[in-house]
């Protein structure tokens, strides 16, 4: 083995004796000295080339996309449980309870007792979603958002009944942190022992609503619902510029994501479809302070009227019809979304024919 230059085409001076390691090769042929590749080197290179070709072929087979549709996004579609979160009906119990008073906790407790006791709705281990309406950055006195007292009372009752977690969530129109802060809902939920969930891109999934037309597939605030067992809506009673009134069914609008401002083109259809999307365990129509005009934002105390009333119902359509007629003083026969919701099986808008109780605490 010499270190001098060798003609690569000339036969090697000394034929290789057995196997000579690569290190020896490098020693024999320092960089820059032309040499012939050894058999081992040729085989190793061929093997590497073969591997690379196989890898390339496998990658091509896996990524082959002749129509160009392979890379298009296909959103994962989810559904809420069949039958929703409603509890079984019981004969002899009212479906609609109206409670007048000023102590939210006592009012809620009395209302729940009249509906068959809180145990009918929440039991130990339940993961309860409480959905307030926190759409706007408004202080509680303006009645644009759910009353923090009512929300806190509900959370306390559910926690006391053994609910393992109470989740409070909404996807507001104004900036979420500001809405939850100003409305007092963040503080009320925190102090009462609920978990506050702000809208976050990771929470939204495409929800499939069987039978719906506008929201057959639509982004929804889904992740907290994935393992929830109970859903309770607590919504303020408000005037609304377009659909006349925002009550318990309209409240579910705050669970939608995406380009939801298009729904105003068919507002009554969407409100009735929302009632199909969520079959709640219970709805509470919070009429402690009622926004009589300039809704749904309000903004002036003169828009608000104290009514000190809570409407508890297992039938959201009846609750809305009652609130619309008795509290807001308007004619439910002329509110299209109530009729549509009834057609879609969300409840009974003729609240007078629904078993009902009225209490004062």
């Amino acid at each position: 083995m010499s270190r001098r230059w060798q003609d690569p085409l000339a036969p090697l001076e000394t034929p290789r004796q057995g196997h000579v390691g690569d290190a020896a090769q490098r020693l024999a042929y320092p960089p820059g000295v032309p040499r012939l590749a050894s058999r081992r080197e040729v085989l190793a290179r061929a093997a590497k080339l073969g591997l690379a070709a196989a890898g390339f072929g496998a990658a091509w087979a896996a990524m082959r996309d002749p129509l160009g549709e392979g890379a298009l996004e296909r959103p994962e579609v989810v559904r809420l449980p069949e039958g929703g979160f409603a509890v079984a009906e019981k004969a002899g119990l009212p479906k609609l309870v109206v409670v007048h008073g000023t102590d939210a906790l006592a009012m809620l407790r009395a209302g729940l007792d009249a509906l068959g006791g809180i145990g009918r709705f929440v039991s130990a281990g339940d993961r309860v979603i409480v959905k307030p309406n926190v759409a706007f950055d408004r202080s509680p006195a303006l009645g644009a958002t759910t009353s923090p007292d009512v929300l806190a009372a509900a959370v306390r009752l559910f926690r006391a009944e053994g609910a393992s977690e109470v989740r409070v969530l909404d996807n507001p129109i104004n900036s979420p942190e500001g809405c939850f802060h100003r409305s007092g809902i963040a503080r009320a939920a925190g102090e009462a022992g609920a978990r506050l969930i702000l809208p976050d891109p990771v929470h939204f999934r495409t929800l499939e609503v069987p039978g719906a037309e506008l929201i057959a597939r639509w982004p929804m605030f889904y992740r907290p619902f994935a393992d929830a067992t109970r859903v309770v809506g607590i919504s303020p009673l408000k005037d609304h510029n377009l659909c006349s009134a925002s009550m318990t069914m309209k409240n579910w609008y705050g669970l939608l994501g995406g380009r939801r401002n298009q729904f105003h083109q068919r507002i009554h259809d969407i409100v009735s479809e929302l009632a199909m999307m969520i079959r709640p365990t219970l709805v509470v129509l919070d009429a402690t302070r009622v926004m009589m005009r300039n809704g749904p934002t309000g903004g002036s105390l003169s828009d608000v009227k104290r009514m000190d009333t809570l409407v508890l119902a297992t039938d959201q359509c009846a609750a809305d019809a009652y609130g619309y007629e008795t509290l807001l003083g308007r004619d439910p026969q002329k509110l299209p979304y109530l009729e549509l919701a009834e057609k879609r099986g969300a409840g009974n808008r003729n609240w007078r024919s629904v078993p009902m109780r009225e209490l004062t605490v």
Binding site: F136, D137, R138, S139, N171, I173, N174, S175, P176, E177, G178, H181, R182, L198, P199, D200, P201, V202, R223, D239, H240, N241, L242, S244, G257, R259, N261, Q262, H264, Q265, R266, I267, M292, R293, N294, G295, P296, T297, G298, G299, S300, S302, D303, R330, D331, K334
Partner: protein, 556 residues
């Protein structure tokens, strides 16, 4: 000289012996690194808590308020020292004693540059010594400073373009923090259990949007990349704050001083010299960052940080001629004039989309004050504020304007004015913004006026019900009303259309109508600046506020 020491004929070691094997006390450079780490962490912390759910009375604009260039330049442009800007004495007074200590002990941008050089610029040996020699190029910053200060004197505050603290805040706010959130969102889609507080701006429906992100981010990256060619390029060549501190620091009582008796002219002191201040010869006092590396590097112990060393052993004057400074000043005077000639500050030629945040004074006064630090943009909960490009003219580059497509002005919020360090947005109380007592006479602060584009509006132009704008209008009574009209549509269906209109006396220009309008590209209702409260010359109505109209009857 005394008798030669016994070791005199022993050959000099090629490397200095390690003075100790185990370090029991800290070296001065270790203390410096700790100081830099502390202030860098403090900067990130304060920038991180400049966010609705994290506000807790922290002085979130602290670094801007101790920045002497901000105080001096706004002092020149407004004739006043606003709110906390007097805190700049905390930097300025020590500079008179210790020189440009700020640049290598406190400045987060300096720390960033030094770290980038340390991590990525592997310049070694003689190349490194040469890279740290003083170059005439480094005098550029003094000319720039003259330009900036004279611009400020003419009422056009441009320091924010290059002031390191403004640059740092701006890059964090409009490029790096939102990029972090975009990346975090990707990760959290896969790992949703990662907590939301990892985000720079948690609790938003989507990561924040900034039209200037690439421009601002690339400026930062390009300036950082310059370290690979010339270490601390920005600090040595461009930094107007460094130049200002250099001017004041040349009178410092303490400075690096070389003992020529001990010095062997090995030039090793240049090895880690941050400021390129020539510690190996006559120290350029106005360039020295007091990083103390030369003291640690000197094998002969010939360098020390000394009290009042002899004048002749250093260079006190700033290395630039009066002529260059005069040129900078004259160029600034012309630039200021060009800007005013081109018309962005005039009342009949302003861009309709230059909508300033509530509490801003008149446009000229605004330009006197705004340092483009983007603290208002960082704290804005709705993402409505965007750094302008040339909408507000050359002078208004990167000043905040409201883009109602990316956000809207939250009715009950005045955070932008609270964090503004210079009063470009005044900290108005919420009562003043809303026109509540005792401000009911003046009425609410209008930032602009909404207009309906009837050719794009769904009820007006397309026989389709909508009025999201009316729904979200936050004033009471609503500044957007609607005419009810029942029509027979093209397909024979009867439809009730509510056709929106604006009540200009009530509209405050908050822009939530524009933000929520479903005609998402070019909105069918939009806000322009005309009618803004801050400007007399840009008013719209004969009286800015007519007597309150009775609330409209709700329809049933």
């Amino acid at each position: 000289m005394s008798a030669p020491s016994p070791a005199a004929d022993v050959p000099r070691p090629t490397r200095p012996p390690k003075p100790y094997t185990r370090r029991l006390s800290m070296r001065i450079t270790d203390v410096r690194i700790l100081s830099q780490a502390f202030f860098f962490a403090l900067f990130i912390y304060l920038a991180g808590v400049t966010w609705f759910s994290r506000l807790g009375g922290y002085p979130v604009s602290l670094f801007l308020e101790v920045d002497p260039l901000v105080a001096l330049a706004t002092g020149l442009s407004t004739g006043t020292i606003y709110r906390n800007l007097i805190w700049s004495l905390w930097v300025l007074v020590p500079t008179l004693v210790l020189g440009r200590w700020f640049c290598n002990w406190m400045c987060p941008y300096g720390t960033l540059h030094q770290s980038i050089g340390w991590l990525f610029a592997k310049i070694t040996g003689k190349d490194r010594l040469d890279a740290n020699r003083y170059r005439p190029l480094f005098r550029t910053k003094y000319v720039l400073l003259a330009w900036f200060l004279v611009m400020a004197l003419f009422g056009s505050l441009q320091i924010g373009l290059l002031d390191p603290i403004c640059l740092m805040y701006r890059s964090f706010t409009t490029a790096f923090a939102p990029s972090w959130d975009v990346a975090a969102e990707r990760v959290r889609q896969v790992a949703p259990w990662l907590p939301g507080w990892l985000l720079a701006s948690p609790g938003t429906k989507e990561p924040r949007l900034f039209t200037s992100a690439v421009l601002v981010g690339w400026m930062m990256l390009a300036l950082l990349a310059a370290n690979l060619i010339i270490p601390r390029f920005f600090c040595r060549t461009l930094c107007p704050l460094g130049a200002l501190l250099g001017v004041f620091g040349r009178f410092a009582l303490w400075r690096i001083d070389r003992n020529p008796q001990k010095c062997t002219n090995c030039d090793l002191c240049l090895m880690h010299c941050e400021g390129a201040s020539d510690p190996h010869m006559l120290l350029r006092q106005s360039e020295c960052f007091a990083c103390m590396n030369c003291i640690e590097d000197c094998p002969e112990d010939a360098l020390a940080f000394r009290f009042m060393p002899p004048k002749e052993s250093g260079v006190e004057h700033v290395d630039t001629s009066r002529r260059r400074l005069v040129f900078g000043a004259v160029a600034a005077a012309f630039t200021a004039a060009f800007a005013r000639v081109s018309g962005a500050t005039r009342d009949r030629h302003f861009d309709p989309k230059v909508i300033r945040p509530p509490g801003s004074p008149d446009e000229r006064e605004f330009l006197d004050r705004c340092i483009k630090c983007e603290q208002c943009i960082r704290v804005c909960p709705t993402n409505v504020l965007q750094p302008a490009l040339f909408q507000a003219g050359f002078e208004g580059f990167w000043t905040p304007i409201m883009d109602m497509r990316s956000g809207y002005c939250e009715l009950n919020c005045t955070l932008c004015g609270q964090v503004c360090p210079t009063g470009a947005i005044l900290p108005i109380p919420i009562e003043k913004k809303l026109g509540l007592p005792p401000h009911q006479e003046a009425g609410p602060v209008k930032v602009g006026t909404a207009f309906v584009d009837k050719s794009r509006c769904l009820p007006w132009a397309m026989e389709t019900p909508c009025v999201v704008c009316e729904e979200v209008c936050p004033t009471s009574p609503k500044a957007i009303g609607a005419y009810d009209e029942e029509i027979v549509r093209w397909d024979g269906k009867k439809v009730l259309l509510r056709k929106p209109f604006v009540r200009p006396e009530l509209c405050i220009g908050c822009g939530i109508c524009e933000h929520e309008c479903p005609v998402s590209d070019s909105r069918a209702i939009y806000v322009t600046a005309v009618g803004e409260t801050r400007s007399k010359g840009r008013s719209l109505l004969l009286k800015s506020r007519l007597p309150m109209v009775p609330p409209p009857k709700s329809h049933c």
